[in-house]
């Protein structure tokens, strides 16, 4: 079953072709990776998938619905969540508030009931808090629930970003370089976390530079270079693709 499909996705910024007719399909419940040299268009692709930028041409289908013209909050409501390469938490809110605010679209109650603080409001509020705590526990942050998000150490901030993305209850979660700036130990921890996320039944799409991690964890890889999809397939297929080797290492010369 495919949950997400991009058809001929194209994004031009003036004369710059950030994405050129990129097509791919994403299988439900699997871990996918998007790799490619710097400036290959990976983050632009994520921006298109989440409604942050509108593609110049092409379409994105999510669970059978065309989403490329939707607003970011509508895409989030349908079930796509993401993290950023440079962490973007709400730094002046507590860790708990960060995951609570992410449940925004999943908890609906009127303003009046919030002001009157009736029993149904209080029980919903408690449910949101409990659920938030579960996500924090999953990411090992339960001891820091009342700390300000901006005061967490770097690695914990990364984990909180994933917890917050999970709190939106997505079907697909997009992780933009979750190991950026991490040492090998921390990278291994992130790998475990990604497997945990998959274990929850989520589909994962990963942008990553750490090849060991990518090859070890992905079931399917898309390689972008200068906005063009140059290869896709299983880690073995991609590893041995001459076009991929060329994009990363340069052309082989004969002596």
């Amino acid at each position: 079953m495919f949950v997400l499909e991009a058809r001929e996705l194209t994004k031009h910024f003036g004369g710059l072709k950030a994405l050129e007719a990129v097509s791919f399909k994403v299988k439900e419940g699997a871990i996918h990776s998007i790799i490619g040299p710097n400036g290959a268009g990976k983050t632009t692709l994520f921006n298109c998938l989440t409604g942050v930028t509108r593609p110049t041409r092409g379409s994105i289908h999510f669970s059978g619905q065309e989403i490329s013209r939707l607003q970011p909050h509508e895409v989030a409501e349908l079930g796509i969540a993401r993290t950023f390469q440079n962490i973007r938490l709400f730094p002046e809110m507590t860790v708990m508030e960060n995951v609570m605010v992410a449940q925004h679209t999943r908890t609906k109650y009127g303003l009046l009931s919030a002001v009157l603080r009736g029993s149904s409001f209080m029980s919903k509020e408690r449910a949101v808090r409990e659920k938030g705590f579960e996500y924090l526990e999953l990411m090992g942050l339960e001891d820091h629930a009342e700390a300000l998000a901006g005061n967490l150490p770097y690695g914990s901030q990364r984990r909180l970003e994933i917890a917050r993305a999970l709190a939106t209850e997505p079907k697909i979660i997009l992780l933009d370089e979750p190991t950026a700036g991490m040492n090998p130990m921390e990278t291994l921890e992130v790998m475990d976390l990604i497997r945990k996320v998959k274990g929850l039944g989520k589909t994962v799409i990963l942008i990553e530079h750490d090849m060991k991690l990518v090859m070890g964890i992905s079931e399917w890889i898309l390689v972008l270079d200068h906005g063009v999809g140059i290869a896709e397939g299983s880690p073995e297929e991609v590893r041995n693709d001459p076009l991929v080797i060329e994009a990363y290492l340069g052309r082989e010369t004969t002596h």
């Binding site: 909050h73 925004h104 679209t105 509020e125």
Partner: protein, 299 residues
Amino acid sequence: MLLQQLINGLTLGGVYAIIALGYTMVYGILELINFAHGEIYMLGAYLGIIFLGIFTSLGLTAANFPLALLLTVLMTVLFCSAYGFTMEKVAYKPLRNAPRLSPLISAIGVSIFLQNYVMLTQGATDKVFPYRYGETHIRFLSVDLTALQAAIIITSALLMTGLHLFQKTRMGKAMRATAQDKTMAALVGINVDTIISMTFIIGAGLAAVAGIMVASYYGIVNYSIGYMAGIKAFTAAVLGGIGSIPGAMLGGILLGLIESIGAAYISSEYKDVYAFIVLLIILLIRPSGILGGYSEEKV
């Protein structure tokens, strides 16, 4: 004498704080100085007179039907919130992605428009608040406090507490998240447009209450009162740290206290000057205001 001036200052300061909250909330989310915010306060004062007039002509004077006053406040808040909502949709939303100077100029335009709109429809002369409420004096320690002053202080305190509680609610958290990072807020499913509208509605509603309170306190209203009140409230917001909600509350109250104490002990001729002197000193020592945190320029 000092205690008396503190009470006077608190009355004035509460009003400044309530207007300043509207400035600081909008700035927190849009990084826009909403220069038309003072005009909403002025509209609140006029609408208060109008609705009170309507109720009185229906035979429902505040003397025989105290609920008339509450209804007046509610109707005024409703109308001013509608003005605030419309102002954002018409004058600011189309400029959301424009350079920062454009919405600022648009705000000045709205301010001029609203002043002239009220001048043309209501006349350029002063209007008198139809009924002086709360003339009863309360003796409290050696202080002479009118019932109206007490009502203003209590109302201001209640509104500030209410806003503080609102911040903890689902909508309040969404508003704070939006203020910190609009794109990220949208990506966790928050409709940023709704939050922005909500901010203008709440800010305008607060300004409306302030307008009625001041109109009944001074008993006189004209189309240009929004200008000075706007500048004062803006000063209060900057003093406390613009974008910070507790900052606006603190700044407003401080400003009121400084004004009344300065007027009493130095000279009332320079009443408007003290506030700005203090603002200058604070900005020289702490450019981001008393409670304003250091904020990095967002890239």
